[in-house]
C-alpha cells in the first residue's frame, strides 16, 4: 500500500470528481501540458484531431484497467517495461482498427498512431494513478483524462481547420470569399493555436482564483 497523504484522508474524491478532473482541472493538455507531440502534429484538421484523441482515449482506458488489475503482480523493477507492453498491445488493436475503418485516415495520422505507445499522458496515468488505485477508479480516471485529451485536441483542430481551410470536419462552413490563413495548417499554426488556448485557460483560471 502506498502511504496516503493527510489531504487525501480529509476528502476522498468521489467518482464524478475523478472523471471531471481530467476534463477540466487537470486537463492533460491545457493544464499538465503533456502529450505535446501528437497535440501539435495531428491537430491540423478537426477529423484528424478527433480520431487521434479517441484512439488515445481508448488505449488510455484499456491500459489503465489492465494495469490496475495487474498492479499487485507487476514487480517494481520491471514496471515500465510491463506498462509499455500492455499499452503496445492496445495500440496495435487501435492501429488495425483505424486501418480497417479508413485507410485515408490511417495515412493522415501516419506514425503518430504507433507513437501512442510512448504517449506521456498514458504513461503518467499508469505510473501515477492506475498502479495505485482500484480497477473502477482507474477506468474512470482514464476515461476522464482521455476525454480531456479529445476535448483539447478538438479545440485545437477546430480552430486550425476553420482558419486554415475554411471548413470543419471537411465541410466548408465559411463563405467562398474567405481568405484562408495558410499558417494555421502549417506546424507554426499549431504552436500559435496551442498558445492561444493555454492563454484562455489560464486567464479564466486566474480570474476564478481571484474571485
Amino acid at each position: 500500500m502506498t502511504p496516503t497523504k493527510i489531504a487525501d484522508l480529509k476528502a476522498v474524491p468521489s467518482t464524478t470528481d475523478e472523471f471531471i478532473k481530467g476534463l477540466w482541472r487537470e486537463n492533460p493538455v491545457f493544464v499538465q501540458v503533456l502529450g505535446m507531440c501528437p497535440t501539435l502534429a495531428v491537430s491540423n484538421s478537426a477529423i484528424n484531431a478527433l480520431a487521434m484523441g479517441l484512439a488515445t482515449a481508448f488505449v488510455l482506458v484499456m491500459s489503465n484497467i489492465l494495469i490496475s488489475s495487474l498492479r499487485n503482480f507487476i514487480p517494481k523493477q520491471v514496471r515500465m517495461a510491463s506498462y509499455i507492453l500492455i499499452i503496445a498491445t492496445f495500440v496495435t488493436i487501435v492501429e488495425y482498427g483505424i486501418q480497417a475503418i479508413s485507410v485515408e485516415l490511417h495515412k493522415n495520422l501516419g506514425a503518430f498512431i504507433s507513437l501512442i505507445v510512448v504517449n506521456c499522458i498514458i504513461l503518467s496515468r499508469a505510473e501515477a494513478f492506475a498502479s495505485k488505485n482500484t480497477i473502477w477508479k482507474s477506468a474512470i480516471d482514464g476515461l476522464g483524462m482521455g476525454l480531456g485529451f479529445v476535448l483539447a485536441l478538438s479545440c485545437l483542430g477546430a480552430v486550425r481547420e476553420i482558419l486554415g481551410n475554411a471548413s470543419i470536419f471537411g465541410i466548408t462552413v465559411l463563405p467562398e470569399s474567405f481568405q484562408e490563413w495558410i499558417i494555421m495548417i502549417l506546424p507554426a499554426g499549431g504552436f500559435f493555436t496551442l498558445a492561444f488556448w493555454l492563454f484562455l485557460f489560464n486567464y479564466f483560471k486566474l480570474k476564478k482564483a481571484k474571485a
Binding site: S177, F178, Q179, W181, I182, I183, A188, F192
Partner: protein, 337 residues
Amino acid sequence: MFSKTLHISTSPHIRQGMSTDMIMRNVVYAMMPLVIFAVVSFGLNALLVIITAVASSVLTEHALCRWSGKSSTVSDWSAVITGILLGLTLPPIFPLWMTFLGGVVSIAIGKFVFGGLGSNAFNPALVGRAFLQAAFPVAITTWHPSFLEGRFYSISKSVAAFPFSTPVVDGISGATPLSAFKFDKVTADTADLAFGFISGSSGETSAVLIILGGIYLAVRKMMNWRIPVAILTTVFVLSGILYLIDNQTYPSPQFMLFSGGLMLGAVFMATDMVGSPITSRGVVIYGAFIGLIVVVIRIWGGLPEGVMYAILLGNALTPHIDNLIRPRVYGTKKTKS
C-alpha cells in the same frame, strides 16, 4: 532624466543623455524620405498600407498596456517605428485588413509577450511580416509596378478587400527584380535599382534614400554603423566570388546589394538595438552571419528573397554571440572559456 531602466553595454559607461523617445523620433525622421518616396512611386495604396500598419501597431500597444495595467508606452515612438517598418516591407497593394492583422501580431506576439520594449528578442516588424508571409503567401508576393498613371487618386481593389476575404488582383502586377532573376534570369539596371524605379515592397525600392537615412542616424550616433557595413560587405564579397566563378548563373554583386529588401533590412531592421549584440566584435559576426544567410537563401533557396529570415535568425543568435564574445575585464588575464 532619471530612469530605473537597466542599461546594458560594454565599457566605457559614460552616456550622452539621449532618451529612448528621442532616438526613436530620429529613426522616424530618417525613415520619412522612404515613406514619401513610397507614396510618390506607389501612390495612395502605399500610403493607406503604411497608415494602417502604424495605426494597428499603436492601437495594439496602447490596448495591451492598458489591459496589463501598465502606463501606456505609445509615447516612446517605438510602436510607430514598428508600424512604419511593417508598412514599408509589405507590397504596396497589400490588403488593409491583412496589414492590420500584421500590426497586431507584430506588437502582441513580436514584442509584448516578451515583455515590451527592450525585451523583445526579435524585431517586432519582422515577426509580423513573417506571420503574414506564412499565412497569406499569395497576397504578400503580389507585386505592383511603380509610377503608374493615376496612382494618386485610385485605390486598388486588392487594398480595399473586405476583412477576411480573398483579395482580388486588378490584373496589373509586376515582378520584382529579384523574382525576375530567380525565375527568368533577367537582371535589372543598377541605376534603376539604386534610385528605386522598380517594383517591390513599398519602402525597399530606393537604395539611395535608405543609405542617406542610415548615414543620418550613424552620424548622430543613434545606430551602430558596423552592422549594415558588415552585412553589405559580406553579401558583396560572397556574391562577388560566386559571380567571378560563374557569371551566367549567379547575379552580379551590385545587383545583390541594391535589389530586394537588403538595404532596408541592413540599415533599419538588423540595427534594432534590442536584437543585436552589444560588443563591436559581436556585431561584426552578427552582420556577417546575416549576410551569409541572405546570399544562401537568395541563390540556393526556394524563395527569391531571404533578408527577413536572415535577420530573424541573426536575432536568435544574438544572445549566443554576446555570451561567446565577452570583453576582457580590465586588469585581468584572458581566461580560456
